[in-house]
């Protein structure tokens, strides 16, 4: 079958990866105070299992999963619980949080748990172990991984795609993980193969990370059902739907999930984490984060404990005093930080910092002149121009019923290309949440 190894439309924003893609992952210092919100993932928040004043060991369970769509939270440091109090999150919502004082004298040895033997464990046991390790999608969405890997009744998984695309500008964490943790990735793939029952694995990597592709290819054995596929660079290829189209030439049905076309997609860093944690029965304590942007001195890829306060991070890396904009995630799909009192969470893939001089003042918004640039950029072939006009007239239901609003995964390509500087993706984010709210109210 003829495959183009790409998807329709899309954009080519400046990549800005060259400043950090050559820097090895380095351990970040421990902050004296760790602040852990209990809602770091999509789903219901974790339930706190510790009390104020309690001494905890690095790797110890602090909060347990509160249901199926939930994951536990482990202590990233050895120390003492100072208080349990609501903390701010990036969305602006306050959630319960654990303030943890680090013991300076501790060796920070990690508590070992029950190892998961790849040969003996059943698929269900592996799923349970992934949930117990507190693993969520590390690409940024923070969706509980075990829930994604659970194959629904009547469906089956043929192909497992490991997502090493990292199309978001500036970010180089997945790139570094592929270069430095290939053993963990292949160990993770073994667990994933067993639990999903997939027959083959394709590791998708964009052409700008040729060294990572070569490195992983070096680990392939002829008998493994694993291949590495390099695809041309284009944003937003790292999204599940576009990636499946690029690699397999299939389309996920509107409103459906990858499993509807017998595919499961897992981020490469998540895969490495599964491969790293499960053999030791540990939980997530830290993650790799790219810190970069023109407003920061010590750019790099750092292994940072979850719960490290953003202020501490900025201090350590020498962020510009006149910093004006910080994105958690990348500039395309990340979220602009409005409160410096938040901390690093499991879904934080990068921190991009701009100082005053490199941020353009907000551009004036002009009316839509229907130039069609957004129509030619939308990877899902939606009509952002029409959707934008309907959003302005608050015709949210019409947007959803006639123009596939709910398919939008907020990649921001439309806003990026709009010559009138219309914040289309922001309109759609809002419209989607209004439609969801109205639907649940009805």
């Amino acid at each position: 079958m003829f495959q183009k190894h790409t998807f329709k439309h899309g954009i080519h924003p400046p990549e800005n990866k060259e400043e950090t893609n050559g820097l090895p992952i380095r351990q970040f210092p421990f902050s004296p105070l760790i602040i852990l919100p209990v809602a770091q993932h999509i789903g219901s928040p974790s339930e706190i299992r510790v009390r104020e004043g309690q001494e905890v060991v690095r790797g110890q369970l602090l909060a347990s999963a509160s249901g199926y769509l939930s994951v536990p939270l482990h202590s990233p440091v050895t120390g003492k619980i100072r208080k349990i109090k609501d903390v701010p999150t990036i969305s602006g919502k306050m959630v319960p949080g654990i303030y943890l004082e680090v013991s300076p004298s501790s060796t920070q040895e990690i508590l070992e748990g029950e190892p998961v033997d790849i040969d003996k464990a059943t698929p269900a046991e592996i799923l349970q172990a992934i949930q117990d390790a507190g693993i969520v999608g590390l690409g940024g969405a923070a969706f509980p991984t075990h829930a994604k890997l659970k194959i629904p009744e009547g469906k089956h998984c043929d192909t497992l795609i490991i997502n090493g695309i990292e199309c978001e500008p500036y970010l180089t964490t997945d790139h570094r993980v592929m270069l430095e943790q290939p053993e963990d990735i292949f160990q993770g793939i073994k667990y994933l193969l067993k639990t999903t029952g997939a027959k083959r694995v394709i590791i998708g990597i964009e052409a700008n990370k040729g060294d990572a592709a070569e490195r992983l290819k070096g680990f392939l054995k002829p008998e493994d059902p694993i291949e590495v596929q390099v695809v041309p660079v284009k944003y937003p290829q790292g999204a599940e739907k576009t990636l499946i189209t690029s690699i397999l030439g299939k389309e996920v049905p509107s409103g459906g999930l990858p499993i509807d076309v017998n595919v499961v997609v897992v981020n490469v860093a998540t895969t490495a984490e599964i491969g790293r944690l499960l053999p030791h029965g540990r939980g997530i304590q830290e993650r790799v984060i790219t810190i970069t942007g023109p407003g920061v001195q010590k750019k790099g890829n750092y292994l940072i404990p979850i719960g490290t306060p953003l202020r501490y991070v900025l201090e350590q890396v020498g962020a510009d005093e006149h910093l004006s904009e910080i994105y958690m995630g990348g500039p395309m799909m990340g979220v602009a930080v409005s409160n410096l009192d938040i901390s690093i969470v499991k879904g934080t893939s990068g921190i991009v910092i701009f100082s005053e001089e490199n941020v353009k003042r907000a551009e004036k918004i002009y009316p839509c002149i229907k130039c069609g640039a957004c129509v030619d950029a939308c990877p899902l072939s939606l009509n952002p121009s029409k959707l934008g006009i309907l959003a302005k007239f608050e015709a949210y239901e019409l947007m959803a019923s006639d123009y596939n609003l709910m398919d939008c995964f907020e990649c921001g390509s439309c806003s990026y290309v709009c010559p009138s500087h219309i914040p289309l993706v922001q309109y759609f984010r809002l419209s989607k949440s209004i439609v969801r709210k109205r639907k649940s109210a009805a």
Binding site: K8, K241, T245, E251, V252, P253, S254, G255, G256, Y366, P367, C368, I369, K370, C371, G372, V375, P379, L380, S381, L382, N383, S385, K386, N404, D407
Partner: protein
């Protein structure tokens, strides 16, 4: 948007060169009328003025380029006021107009002053820089008195007298016509500039010109004594100006690639139909306005297939 203005400047220059001061006055008046109207209407509706977005200036230049070089200035001014007021503002301003505003202005002028707007003037008169046609300076609400010579346009000459003009004269703009429609070469160059810089959807002019060429070519092959050659059709009248600068108004044209090809083909066919079988010698204006009216329907019918549906 200012790039559209840059692309039109050579055409304006040539219009002034071939028709003299009268043409300059017509264009300046049209632009002035559009800018004043835009500003006044914004103030009246207590909105921030949108004069600086260049769109009113573009409408003004386009309107000026479609008018005869000796149209009385008060009529030109009226056309500008109507273009912005009726063509754009009452629909909600830039981005919401259904029709190309300049053509709305011109259509109203055509209906109101059918004689004045079809009174043409020969190009390259010797005194074009030393005198201004008295017709241009006609007092408001008075009909112009045309002095001395008037020149039939190539299309009128063909329609009413059966006389064909040489295609090379047409291409270079050595003929009579509206101020800015005569030099096909300069218009095409402006269009290529805009298309190369991605400020214009090149599919629209291409579809219009192709459809005119093919349709009139079929007629010409059918009976070359009765129907004009496709080259004459391409280079005469306002077709080039309309195809490159008018029909490409993004707001009033469809948004998908297939949509604009349909839109352009319909306009091309209408141009030929009106020119050959209609009562008027020229049909570009009405063809584009009808195309504009069809655009929202084309957009509704021709949509991209959404991913996964």
């Amino acid at each position: 948007m200012r790039n559209v203005v840059w692309a039109m400047l050579p055409i304006v220059g040539f219009a002034v060169y071939s028709f003299g001061f009268s043409a300059l006055l017509v264009i300046v008046t049209a632009v002035g009328a559009c800018l004043i109207t835009e500003h006044a209407l914004c103030r009246l509706s207590r909105k921030e003025t949108t004069v600086s977005d260049w769109s009113a200036a573009i409408t003004g230049i386009l309107l000026g380029l479609t008018l005869p070089p000796i149209l009385p200035l008060w009529m030109t001014f009226t056309g500008g006021v109507i273009a912005i007021g009726m063509g754009k503002f009452i629909f909600g301003g830039l981005g919401y107009n259904v029709f190309n505003p300049a053509l709305v202005g011109r259509a109203v002028l055509q209906a109101a002053f059918p004689v004045a707007i079809t009174t043409w003037y020969p190009a390259f008169l010797d005194d074009r820089f030393s005198s201004i046609s008295s017709s241009v300076l006609t007092l408001p609400f008075m009909a112009p008195v045309v002095d001395g010579t008037s020149g039939a346009t190539p299309l009128a000459a063909f329609k009413f007298d059966g006389v064909l003009t040489d295609a090379s004269d047409l291409a270079l703009g050595l003929t009579s016509g509206s101020t800015g429609e005569t030099s096909a070469v300069l218009i095409l160059l402006g269009g290529i500039y805009l298309a190369a810089r991605n400020f214009m959807n090149w599919r629209i002019p291409l579809a219009i010109l192709m459809s005119v060429f093919v349709f009139s070519g079929i007629l010409f092959l059918w009976d070359s004594t009765q129907y004009p050659s496709p080259l004459f059709m391409l280079f005469s009248g306002g077709l080039m100006l309309g195809a490159v600068f008018m029909a490409t108004d993004m707001v009033a044209s469809p948004i998908t690639s297939l949509g604009v090809v349909i839109y352009g083909s319909v306009i091309g066919i209408l141009v030929v139909v009106i020119r050959i079988w209609g009562g008027l010698p020229e049909g570009v204006m009405y063809a584009i306005l009808l195309g504009n009216a069809l655009s929202p329907h084309i957009d509704n019918l021709v949509r991209h297939r959404v991913y996964g549906t």
